[in-house]
């Protein structure tokens, strides 16, 4: 039953998540109750079916790829820590000045990490390169049946041609970052979390 949701999350866990992700105490408890309400099996972890039960996500053309981003390599359960870690990518960047994030290295919601998240949506096999096939797959997901293979192929070719600087017919993460230099990634890949 949902009545004991907040009591299952211990203070130490909340502190750790706060340090790692930068979310505030109240945001973490509310996201925990959301996690709990999605967890129909009540086993403390979400499966792919739990995500697919959200209608707005199921009709999103990139829904499956987004769900994939939550699950670490080869696993099909994500616990609350993993859930928060992925959501942390979408925290707005300005908040970092307000709450000092104490982890070493870059915060999860830095521009680079946001771009990495988007890069991984394309790069399904995690070989740090977006091949022509991978690009075509994502394009096909977004346009459905409305564009022919040839047209789609030429769009993919053009995109790779313009982004590829080292001639290997694939887009590496650096090339990806360069292409999106002018795009306001911080704003487009952020969600306004309230208090």
């Amino acid at each position: 039953m949902g009545s004991r949701a907040s009591s299952l999350l211990r203070e130490e866990d909340i502190e750790e998540i706060k340090k790692e992700t930068g979310f505030s105490h109240s945001q973490i408890t509310r996201l925990y109750s959301r996690f709990h309400s999605l967890d129909k099996g009540e086993n403390g972890a979400l499966s792919r079916e739990d995500f697919q039960r959200i209608p707005e996500l199921a009709i999103n053309p990139l829904g499956d790829r987004i769900i994939n981003a939550f699950f670490p390599e080869g696993e099909d359960q994500v616990n609350f820590r993993g859930f928060m870690r992925t959501l942390a990518h979408f925290r707005p960047v300005e908040d970092n000045e307000k709450n000092k994030v104490l982890t070493p290295g870059e915060p999860l919601n830095s521009r680079t990490n946001k771009l990495l998240f988007a890069f991984r949506l394309y790069d399904l096999d995690r070989d740090d390169k977006i091949s022509r096939d991978e690009l075509l797959q994502v394009l096909r997901m977004m346009v459905g049946v409305n564009i022919s293979d040839e047209q789609l192929g030429s769009i993919a070719d053009r995109t790779i041609q313009e982004a590829d600087t080292n001639g290997d017919m694939c887009i590496s993460f650096n090339e990806f970052t360069k292409v999106l230099e002018k795009v306001d990634v911080e704003q487009k890949m952020s969600i306004r979390f309230l208090h």
């Binding site: 039953m1 949902g2 009545s3 004991r4 907040s6 009591s7 109240s26 408890t29 509310r30 109750s33 959301r34 309400s37 999605l38 697919q52 039960r53 959200i54 209608p55 707005e56 996500l57 199921a58 009709i59 999103n60 053309p61 990139l62 829904g63 987004i66 959501l87 979408f90 988007a118 949506l121 394309y122 394009l139 977004m142 346009v143 459905g144 049946v145 409305n146 564009i147 047209q151 769009i155 053009r158 995109t159 041609q161 313009e162 982004a163 887009i171 990806f176 292409v179 999106l180 230099e181 002018k182 795009v183 306001d184 990634v185 487009k188 890949m189 969600i191 306004r192 979390f193 309230l194």
Partner: protein, 469 residues
């Protein structure tokens, strides 16, 4: 030698006999007789006011206790949003990306051969950002999944089932809660069970008797009286405190009454104020027995399980019933499933195609006294009824809205949406386009295909431009 009866057990028998008689008399005088005549002593209103005062005190106490112990009180997420969603659409966002300097300007000199202008919308790798963000937003907060679980309350109503902060905050609160448990399970529950059993048995017995009479005015009159009486007893069996508004708009013969659906109790609430012809599937067991005896006294529309799938058959029977002006108005819940009373979901168009006058009714429960929502994936019917009967009370408001008819220029779906909007506005509920069937089933691919179509248009539209230039 005969059985030896001690004077003690004799006394016990006498005491039991007296208390039983007293109990039944109280029941009769305060509950059953007023139910028959539709009167009220005002006891329930007083009960409600007292309870509200107690709940307020309990919440204040809990907040104070939490502050003292430095715990953070859990705030239900459904009341205050976790995120503020951006209202931009797909087209606007993609146009913005392309307008604010696409990456192509960097390579303007390199790709001189194709030389597209900055305003042409070709595929950008950042197009995925929009879908990505919307996807994550829907994971954190979406409209639909919260309709299928019970509404969360701001103040605690001394029921463990709706408490999220139950730690031992103060002795007084725990004592009060314990006291509440004793009252609810020790006194209210048996009382209500007795009433429910009385009500149902009277219904079955009387309707069977009336069924023996020949059809005519007398039979109709008696049938209406009996139905009303038994439903009123059932209403008291749930301690339901109902306020009816705009009774001048009550449904008339030959019409269809549509209402939003939260629980099976909706039927009892509406039927205790007016007589309706019910529509539904024949069940087995006790439910089936009640259904079969009800139909003897006045014509209800019960379908066999197989007939339910045949939409034409259903439509034909409904329209036949409606054409006969001597028959009672039909009661239908077009959502098709129980929703948690914070929103109204898609109305199925079947009842709106029949072409008779529609009388919309909005039902809004006050969840502070007991949540009436039936979460059928979590609780079975018996479990649900027990929870209902051990809550404090069921408090709700019923609004009868003015009748509506389908206009020439609208089809059944638009008419259904119009009625749905009126009900949502009156009841203060959120008007959603989503199908209640999403409780159990998957969403249709057609919605995804729509989004894909819009995106494709943005891409392909430019192909046409490029071929022209």
């Amino acid at each position: 030698m005969g059985p030896f009866i001690s004077p003690f057990s004799n006394l016990l028998c006498m005491l039991l006999g007296i208390s039983f008689t007293l109990w039944v008399t109280l029941l009769l005088v305060f509950i059953i007789v007023p139910a028959i005549f539709g009167l009220s002593f005002g006891i329930r209103g007083l009960y409600m006011k007292t309870l509200l005062k107690v709940f307020k005190w309990a919440t204040v106490r809990m907040e104070r206790g939490a502050k003292e112990k430095n715990h953070l009180l859990y705030k239900p997420y459904s009341l205050n949003s976790i995120i503020a969603k951006e209202p931009t659409s797909l087209e606007d966002e993609l146009k913005e990306i392309r307008r604010n300097g696409s990456s192509r300007e960097l390579d303007g000199s390199a790709s001189a051969a194709t030389g597209p202008s900055p305003s042409s919308s070709e595929f950008e790798m950042s197009d995925t950002f929009y879908f990505c963000r919307r996807g994550i937003e829907s994971i954190v907060d979406d409209e639909v999944t919260k309709c299928f679980s019970a509404e969360e309350l701001e103040s605690w109503n001394l029921l463990t089932r709706s408490n999220y902060n139950f730690q031992h905050i103060s002795t007084r609160l725990t004592v009060l809660w314990g006291f509440g448990v004793i009252i609810r399970y020790g006194f209210l529950l048996p009382l209500r069970l007795t009433l429910a059993i009385t009500g149902i048995s009277l219904l079955v017995v009387f309707t069977t008797i009336i069924g023996l009479l020949p059809n005519g005015r007398l039979k109709n009159f008696l049938s209406e009286t009996v139905h009303l009486m038994c439903y009123r007893i059932c209403v008291r069996a749930l301690t339901a405190i109902i306020t009816y508004h705009h009774s001048e708009n009550k449904p008339k013969n030959g019409g269809i009454c549509v209402a939003n659906h939260t629980s099976p109790i909706d039927v009892i609430i509406l039927a205790s104020d007016g007589c309706y012809a019910m529509v539904g599937q024949i069940h087995g067991g006790l439910m089936g027995l009640i259904q079969r005896s009800m139909v003897k006294a006045c014509p209800h529309i019960w379908f066999e399980r197989l007939e339910v799938k045949d939409r034409h058959l259903v439509a034909k029977r409904l329209s036949d019933h409606v054409k006969d002006k001597s028959k009672l108005p039909i009661l239908i819940f077009p959502e098709g499933t129980c929703i948690n009373n914070t929103s109204v979901m898609m109305f199925k168009k079947g009842s709106f195609e029949i072409g008779s006058t529609v009388y919309p009714v909005a039902i809004k429960y006050d969840p502070r006294f007991g949540d009436a929502f039936w979460n059928s994936s979590k609780f079975g019917m018996v479990n649900y009824l027990l929870r209902m009967m051990s809550s404090w009370a069921i408090v709700c408001s019923v609004w009868y809205l003015p009748p509506m008819s389908r206009q020439e220029d609208e089809d059944a779906v638009q008419f259904a949406n119009r009625v749905k909007g009126a009900i949502a506005r009156q009841g203060g509920l959120v008007d959603l386009l989503w199908d209640g069937g999403l409780k159990r089933g998957k969403v249709k691919d057609a919605f995804k295909e729509e989004q894909q179509k819009i995106y494709s248009k943005i891409l392909v539209g430019t192909q046409a431009d490029r071929s022209r230039s």
